[in-house]
């Protein structure tokens, strides 16, 4: 029970000794060339296997498995629902033209509503009202409904929310159910986010046959169903420039800073020694094809909960065994605290603004990590 409470802090206490933590931290904070336990480069993701459309009963689904055995399944289901209009909106629409443009534009009938996207995350060992699933689902839903496309010509005006509008009286409701199949070995955010992205890419909605304000009526041929996120057609596409003009679901990247280094997609051991953990949601800007920042959240680094190591100078059993001059206190450049080399201290304090700026820049820059991830997911065959 208490373990559960502790884990509710959006992070899990790793079972590593202070000596192991100190070793990890030292190798990860080597200036410019961090050495990761699994030999990856700082921006490299873990290898993964992905497949889509695995659940026949859903509108779209995906499964992603990391090499360490963690797997997630996402199913997306859509339902048609009647749009509830408030009294005032109705009155205003009836009342006609006298009222200003701004409020009309903002109503749900046109712009969509964030609550039409529902997300639930199931993680083994956690209750669905525990803090970790709630925090993760809010984080992913927020970037999903927050992504607003600016492309006036396409269907995706108003982003995902706008796409869910059928007409003034009807809309789609989207249920995104995320299931983590294995124990959460590492912080499960990257896995869940990538799987959700893939499932949304493969989501199809039945083709609408009715027009305008009629009650919606759909084509019952599943073969002509349209993708929720329109994909480049084979005839017109092929070129990268055409591809980039499509709105894509966001991905949330987990970034940590250790010393002066910035490391993407940390595994369990790496996140245990992180100075700061950030979840950065990005998507493709529909206009320029550049990447766009949607949201940033700090995640509580588990390193704050780790047990401290005891320097020899304070260790009673080592009294007289070591010359006192061996323990030289140094200032940790990241936290500005006195530290004895090789002795682990739980991290304290926060993150500098320059580090945050650097993390976002690395994620967003052209040819950077974000682009690589989005390209990679785009390449997954959607059948």
């Amino acid at each position: 029970m208490s373990n559960q409470r502790q884990a509710s802090s959006a992070s899990q206490v790793p079972h590593l000794s202070p000596a192991e933590l100190s070793y990890l931290y030292t190798s990860l904070s080597l200036p410019k060339t961090p050495i990761r336990p699994d030999g990856r480069s700082p921006t490299q993701f873990r290898p993964l296997t992905a497949e889509t459309n695995i659940l026949p009963g859903t509108n779209g689904s995906a499964r992603i498995g990391f090499a360490d055995g963690t797997q997630a399944i996402v199913g997306v289901k859509a339902e048609v629902e009647k749009t509830v209009l408030s009294n005032e909106t109705l009155a205003r629409n009836d009342g006609g033209a006298g009222h200003e443009h701004g409020d009309q534009e903002g109503s749900a009938a046109v712009g969509g509503h964030g609550s039409w996207v529902q997300m639930s995350i199931e993680i083994p060992g956690f209750r669905d009202d525990d803090a970790l699933p709630v925090f993760l689902s809010e984080m992913m839903r927020e970037s999903l409904v927050g992504a607003v496309g600016t492309d006036e010509t396409s269907d995706m005006t108003g982003g995902l929310k706008g796409r869910l509008v059928i007409n003034k009286r009807w809309h789609w409701r989207l249920y995104i159910d995320v299931l983590l199949l294995s124990q959460p070995l590492a912080y499960p955010l990257p896995l869940l986010s990538l799987t959700t992205h893939l499932a949304l890419l493969s989501t199809k909605l039945p083709k609408l046959k009715s027009q305008g304000e009629e009650d919606p009526f759909f084509d019952d041929d599943w073969a002509v169903a349209e993708y929720l996120y329109p994909r480049p057609s084979l005839s017109s596409g092929g070129k990268k420039s055409a591809r980039s003009s499509f709105v894509r679901p966001p991905v949330t990247l987990l970034v940590i800073s250790v010393g002066d280094n910035i490391i993407f997609d940390p595994n369990r051991e790496e996140i245990a020694v992180a100075d700061a953990v950030l979840a950065i949601s990005i998507t493709r800007d529909s206009e320029a094809g550049n990447l766009k920042l949607l949201s940033i959240r700090t995640v509580d680094p588990p390193s704050r909960l780790t047990p401290p190591g005891v320097p020899n100078s304070e260790n009673v059993s080592m009294l007289g065994a070591v010359a006192p001059t061996e323990d030289v206190a140094v200032l940790n450049p990241a936290t500005g605290e006195e530290e004895v080399p090789g002795v682990w201290r739980p991290r304290r304090g926060g993150v500098k603004r320059s580090v945050i700026a650097e993390m976002v820049k690395t994620a967003l820059k052209k040819g950077g990590v974000g682009e690589e991830v989005l390209e990679g997911l785009e390449g997954v065959e959607v059948s």
Binding site: M1, A10, E100, E142, G350, R353
Partner: protein, 353 residues
Amino acid sequence: MLRANSANTQDFRFWALDVSDNFVYLSTFHVKEIKMMADRRRINGPPGGTRPAVFASNLQSGTSATDRAQRQRQPSELRKIFLKTGLIPTASGSSYLEFEPSASLAAARANPKSLIPPSSALKLACTVHGPKPLPRSAAFSPNLVLTTHVKYAPFAARQRKGHIRDSSERDLGVHLETALRGAIIAERWPKSGLDITITILEAEDDRWWGSAPDSHDASWGMMNVLAGCITAASAAIADAHIDCLDLVAGGVAAIVSDETTGASTGAPKLMLDTDPAEHRSILSACVVAYMPARDEITELWLKGDSSKASLENNDDRTGHEALIDGAVDAARGAHTVLAEAVRESLLRTVGQI
């Protein structure tokens, strides 16, 4: 019974005497059945819910653009904060925080036109219990175990909140925990727990009440609430004499576009300490928990599209950097209030000794 009514009293007595036990039992059972279905002891409202009557005249005047709350402050001017510690004697530390009501609210109070207040101002109370020993059943912890609990009072927002915490309240709790854990020196209290409970008495609006409920449905008010929670919790922790690296203060900045002024000046602008009720459309907002002495951020929550902010020409920061800097400036402002409140708390403790 019908027979009893139609017959004379003599007959009725005879009939009543003649009634077997079985019949009496059946009838009481019947009444019980009905009671289980509908609560007869209390006067209940209609099951479907009601809407207050809206009169056409009110609709015309109430939602007109002139009654809309307008920001009277400068873009970098913060609202005044009332912060007092030690108001709850049973807790080891406590604080109460209030934001200054907006100018439009003050005007509406002085000269009421409608029963609905145009905007709301944050009011919240924070209690800190501990450090106290962890229960025997708990696993060993070398650090102070922090528990945060944020709850809206049922009457706090325009829409009633339930008694059980919903997902947004749990989310706020996690944000607050992240913000505070970076500041508290946790290894000085092994095997101890610290409970921080925040009750929000009045929450910030997510939008102006009169605009369509979906015009911008993101919960921008939650960010202001979080900033208030961080500042108040920091004061309460200091009031409970728990060692911290620095006082953490919360600050909010947002990129807003007010279309009222027309397309000419419609470019999105950066504003500090925004009240969502005062703005047409908030594009992006950011809340930070900031420690000025170390120039570090323990909690950052940014959402929305920050790329369209129009900054000064000589400003080469990107939108999100400017937004974070703005939030940090707001937090610096809150920090001065916080420091003063903590000083008062300290003087009071010294006076008691």
